[in-house]
């Protein structure tokens, strides 16, 4: 609006109100963020970013959230982005501020999340002189960003911000860094602020629609298939294509599995849903993949946690692979029909093409019967709350089921990384996209709490649960202070097994039970007391009989952050688990049962 107004006034030859159009680089940066619809910035100030912070202070459109560590800022921006679909923004200073943001950037990069990180940089004249708090942020972040910009003059800031948001949010999304030398945000240097209305980049034209010939080839394979499966990933969620995915699955009546990143893209409670696939996928999902004659991969990248040994992966199946990133196609697994394009557009074309054909569903009956047999044989027990373990200890799965029950399956669930993450993915049914927020690609411990902050800011009225473990939560526990400052009533569900559970599981299974540095020798804090010291509520659970009432209390305290610290069985393992170096049908099903 301001730019339009300025333009009109200019045309009329009327004296402009200089205070409205003349801005410093710092002001231009914040105004550009506002132009992009940014309402929240998560950050931490420091020397090189102080002009920017002053610009933030002088306006009210963009709110700044002060975190306690820059890693938390980027994870919070990431959680905000994952839960809303809008880009998340973090602001950090140079040097250690920038390097602390690196883990957050790598996390967003691996999961293709639109995050824009603005880092202060030392004055341009000092770059390269090893000056105080100088780090080559562009160099350090280069392999873990979609793109980055080093601002060369203040006047470039609006265009760079425009490009940064365009790049971060289109095609295969990803994080973008804007590194801003301090002199380019100096309040004493002002210029006319004009925000570009559109951007044209000759070197960046992400694919949209899929090639129609390829769509037709895909339809031919689909019509022939007798043992098909749809395998979808985070790309469907990123592209807001869940409705189209669900329509396709319903139209074809094909069984469907989601990756860890794709959970919620298809309703988790739907009988057509096979559960998650891969390393800790369900028995039926992995068996379906292994025995399929057709795999329709949508927005998924055949990562090693899915395929197990790629040479033995789904040898009987033809593969249709839809991805917005052409480099994902045939990278790991050869695609018989590769389709480059956005998930939403490709699925829409596929559906409309399919609707012109007679889809014979009867021929799938033997396949569905087989799947039901597999599910009945070794499917997950979703009535774990009825199980009373002989050793009297609480099973971690029971905690997830209790959370599911108490939140009626409607909570946003963030997680950290480890056994608790897998239990949450297996036992909480996600019916909606963007409801499940976790670091799948990088596997970043410490992600859960700060990402939950981002989600809670975006959805202040909803229940946001952070499922974590006593290992992960300690990697960003300082954010309990941020939560108190901003009144974020996150529910921290700590599956406390007094050990680095997943590490210990691998050591049990592959290293003869030698628990090298995976336990803490009684050094854990009293998490309830710790949370209380930050002004929150702590609830300790040690008995199964207390679990459900404690969970009820935890969820019912709407205005408070509650740290629910549950002692769970330290010897429990996550199953199924793929046997390394084999096909997807090689699974450990329990400590003493396996499929081969």
């Amino acid at each position: 609006m301001l730019t339009l107004l300025a333009f009109d006034l200019k045309l009329l030859g009327i004296m402009r109100d200089m205070s409205k159009t003349q801005t410093s680089g710092g002001d231009a940066l914040i105004r550009s963020l506002h132009e992009e619809g940014v309402e929240l910035v998560f950050g931490y100030p420091g020397g090189a970013a102080l002009h920017i912070y002053d610009a933030l202070f002088n306006q009210s459109e963009v709110e700044h959230i002060l975190v306690r560590h820059e890693q938390g800022a980027v994870h919070a921006a990431d959680g905000y982005a994952r839960s809303t679909g809008k880009p998340g923004v973090a602001l950090v200073t140079s040097g250690p501020g920038a390097t602390n943001a690196i883990t957050g950037l790598a996390t967003a990069f691996m999961d293709s999340i639109p995050v824009v990180v603005i880092s202060g940089q030392v004055k341009s004249e000092l770059i390269g002189t090893d000056s105080f708090q100088e780090t080559d942020m562009i160099g350090v972040s280069r392999p873990i960003v979609k793109h980055s910009f080093l601002v060369q003059k203040a006047e470039d800031i609006p265009e760079i911000v425009k490009k940064a948001f365009h790049i971060a949010t289109t095609g295969r999304p990803g994080p973008v860094v804007i590194d801003v030398p301090k002199d380019f945000t100096d309040p004493n240097h002002t210029f006319d602020f004009v925000y570009p209305s559109e951007i044209n980049m000759r070197s960046y034209k992400p694919a949209k629609a899929g090639d129609s010939k390829q769509i037709k080839k895909a339809v031919d394979l689909i019509l022939e298939a007798k043992q098909p499966v749809i395998y979808s990933g985070g790309g469907v969620i990123n592209d807001n294509a869940s409705a189209e995915l669900t329509e396709l699955a319903k139209l074809l009546q094909f069984p469907i599995t989601n990756t860890l990143m794709g959970l919620g893209a298809f309703p988790g409670t739907d009988p057509q849903f096979l559960g998650m696939l891969g390393m800790h996928g369900t028995y039926e999902a992995n068996m379906v993949m292994h025995n399929a004659d057709l795999i329709i991969a949508v927005g998924a990248r055949f990562d090693d946690r899915i395929t197990n040994d790629p040479k033995k992966f789904a040898l009987k199946a033809k593969k249709i692979h839809i991805d917005v990133d052409p480099a994902s196609l045939s990278k790991i697994i050869h695609a018989d029909v590769p389709i480059t394009g956005s998930a939403k557009e490709c699925l829409t074309s596929l559906i409309s093409e399919l609707k012109q054909h007679n889809i014979e569903k009867n021929k799938l009956e033997p396949w569905h019967k087989q799947i039901t047999e597999w599910r009945n044989k070794h499917g997950l027990n979703h009535s774990m709350l009825d199980v009373v373990p002989e050793n009297g200890k609480i099973l971690p799965q029971q905690v997830i089921q209790s959370l599911y029950k108490e939140t009626e399956g409607k909570a946003f669930v963030t997680s950290d990384v480890g056994q608790h993450q897998m239990f949450a993915a297996q036992y909480y049914f996600f019916d909606k996209p963007r409801q499940w927020i976790n670091s799948g690609g990088l596997g970043t411990m410490g992600f859960g709490l700060p990402s939950a902050m981002g989600v809670q800011f975006a959805y202040p009225e909803d229940t946001v649960a952070c499922v974590t473990g006593e290992g992960s939560i300690q990697m960003c526990i300082q954010e309990l202070s941020t939560c108190f400052q901003y009144g974020l009533p996150i529910k921290i569900i700590n599956l406390n097994n007094a050990a680095l559970g997943m590490v210990k599981q691998w050591q049990d299974m592959q290293y003869g039970g030698r628990h090298s540095s995976s336990t803490y020798e009684n050094s854990l804090p009293d998490f309830c007391a710790l949370s209380e010291s930050y002004g929150h509520v702590g609830i300790k659970v040690t008995q199964l009989s207390e679990l459900e009432s404690a969970m009820k209390e935890c969820i019912s305290l709407k205005d408070k952050l509650v740290f629910l610290d549950v002692d769970v069985d330290p010897d429990e393992h996550v199953y199924p688990m793929l046997e390394a170096g084999n096909a997807m049908d090689y699974m450990h099903l329990s400590k003493d049962k396996k499929t081969w």
Binding site: I138, R142, K146, D325, A327
Partner: protein, 159 residues
């Protein structure tokens, strides 16, 4: 298999490091690399040779194409192309006779009483052989540019 990949990228700071970084990051090899601005000064043309099978080279070109600064990429080996390399050789003047230089299709680009600098242009494997042949002359220094390539059909790497 050796492949020659050519690309056009934005002629701006950081673009080259992204291209080179991609190779180390993804475990690809760079055998040779040449980069210079084109007659459109906003663009640089980069030519590199790499070793890899069809699948690897496809991944490399796709990953290069993904870089925001890269405008267009071409695996020159997909059609007929001409590959040339420049080599400069410094020798003791007494070690080589003029007729020998002519026979090797070299060009004298500098000489004084003691030193002679020769220029050779050719296909890289021919220059490899030449390096072998020159061994007996005990060259003081040999410098090679790395390959340049251009396709031999009407297809051009332009925007």
């Amino acid at each position: 298999m050796k492949r020659v990949i050519a690309l056009l990228m934005e002629n701006q700071p950081g673009a080259l490091s992204r291209v080179v970084g991609l190779f180390s990051q993804r475990g690809y090899n760079i055998e040779t690399l040449i980069v210079a601005p084109t007659n459109d000064p906003t663009l640089s043309r980069l030519t590199m040779t790499t070793i890899g099978d069809e699948k690897v080279v496809q991944q490399i070109t796709k990953q290069l194409d993904k870089l925001i600064d890269v405008v267009t990429v071409c695996d020159l080996g997909e059609s007929e192309f001409v590959e040339r390399e420049l080599m400069l050789v410094k020798l003791n003047k007494s070690s080589i006779a003029i007729d020998e230089i002519e026979k090797l299709q070299g060009k004298v680009v500098f000489e004084d009483n003691n030193i002679i600098n020769l220029q050779f242009v050719g296909e890289p494997d021919k220059l490899d052989k030449l390096v072998d042949n020159l061994k007996t002359k005990e060259p003081l220094e040999i410098v090679r540019s790395g390959s340049l390539g251009i396709s031999s059909n009407s297809k051009t790497l332009t925007i």
